[in-house]
Symmetry: C2
Subunit: 239 residues, 2 copies
DNA sequence: CGTCCGTTTGAGGATCATCAATGTCCGTGG
DNA sequence: CCACGGACATTGATGATCCTCAAACGGACG
């Protein structure tokens, strides 16, 4: 229970309070010992494309770390429409629950490799390693910022602008995986619509509009080439 | 709001990983020693109504805990419109930053009493007290769920439904402060509009509609009496 | 080569934003 | 105590945007 750590100074080791810093903390940043510890309590799991990982409302005993592939979390509303709350990329954490039950349903968009940790086990470990716990704080703060960005996005009313923001968002996440001006969109139009809170048709019209404006060019359904990055960013930031 | 169970010793005290539990963890749940420690590094600050507490983009050295009153956090968009990202109530934490700078502007809606803690100081304390840090994890998870709820809300297109959701949201937070069926709305219509991502006029029309439907009854501008709780909830949950 | 699923395109109706004017509340000062 | 001013809120009319329903199109895969 006593935090026993190389205990240099608190100074440099602690860069800033997570709420206030930490752009994207990944498991890679852990010390070997910490990573070792996490791996020892985690199990690697694979999901084929389209697999439901857990359902909203079921007891939430596990926490997940996306390692490879893309996961979506969503809720189905009484009206029958679906709202996607987030797309999770490698190194993202998911499994948020409330009162012991998952608040969203999680489903793989592509084949997924993830680490799965029992909440109780993890809690015990965290209670003994303040530094490790600190990384989780940072991760949560990161998620929070993402949720706020998304709320910002949803405030917009124009379809083209929303789509532009979405493309910028995807660009960030796929940056290291694709050539410079190509953005991969592994999810369907329906998924994009459910994420942006618009109808499938509106998304479709928005894509054609962006294409006709000469801002992007689709390479098949799941990839976009950005032709005019400046105007895309302007569209995305303008509101 | 709802009275929490008495805390047990460390074992059971860890009920679950914060991502998976923790409805509303407040500073009250800390042990006397922890509270003492927090208070020793925090300073109490007061703000009159309408005071800007910090601005988006400025270096974020402080973390705040609302003790009394209501705070709003927002961003002003290029177009000149304002988007309120959150209303903070007593026991809520605010001061989220990215790359060392505040991501939102914070301003008091009512006179506010808050505790202010330097991030570095807090970080040092957290690194030495895993249990305390745990409470922060829980708090962050709570904020995250709030942000997701709000994103859900923003997905709706109908003004009346959004307003209904907003009222339910306010009802939760003001539960212990007002009589059963009265909801206090300390913020202006403009603030509500900026929060819901709609025009001021739409909010106004929505309020009159709800009134004419016999669901609510306004008592001045800053308080609503709920006449038909069932229909209000139905409106809020529908879609 | 045909089917099926996802996507695109079209027409009509509903909702909201915008612009503009009127109305209400509240604090201030006479 | 009352009158006034200004900020806030409501109401109305118009136009733009998106959603819904419906049909045609396209690629993936057997």
């Amino acid at each position: 229970m006593t935090p026993r750590r190389p205990k240099a100074e608190l100074g440099p080791a602690i860069r800033a309070v997570p709420l206030l810093a930490a752009d994207n903390v990944t498991i890679q940043l852990l010390t070997p010992k910490q990573r070792q510890q996490l791996l020892s309590i985690a199990s690697k799991v694979h999901y084929p494309k389209g697999q439901v990982i857990y359902r909203r409302g079921t007891p939430g005993s596990w926490l997940f770390f996306c390692q490879e592939g893309i996961v979506k979390t969503y809720r189905d509303l009484p009206s029958g429409t679906r709202r996607i709350t987030a797309f999770l990329f490698p190194h993202d954490m998911f499994g948020l629950a409330e009162s012991g039950r998952y608040v969203n349903t999680a489903q793989s968009v592509t084949p997924v490799t993830a680490y799965r940790v029992a909440k109780d086990t993890l809690a015990a470990v965290l209670q003994q390693d303040a530094a490790l716990e600190y990384h989780f704080l940072a991760k949560l703060a990161h998620e929070l910022r993402g949720a706020q960005r998304r709320a910002m996005l949803l405030g917009r009313r124009d379809a083209a602008g929303r789509l532009a923001m979405f493309l910028m968002l995807m660009k960030r996440h796929g940056a290291e995986r694709t050539a410079g001006d190509i953005i991969r969109l592994p999810m369907s139009r329906s998924d994009i619509a459910a994420f942006l809170g618009q109808s499938l048709e509106s998304i479709s019209r928005a894509t054609t509009r962006l294409t006709k404006m000469g801002i992007v060019q689709f390479q098949g359904r799941n990839a976009v080439r950005v032709l005019d990055s400046a105007r895309l960013e302007e569209l995305a930031s303008n509101l």
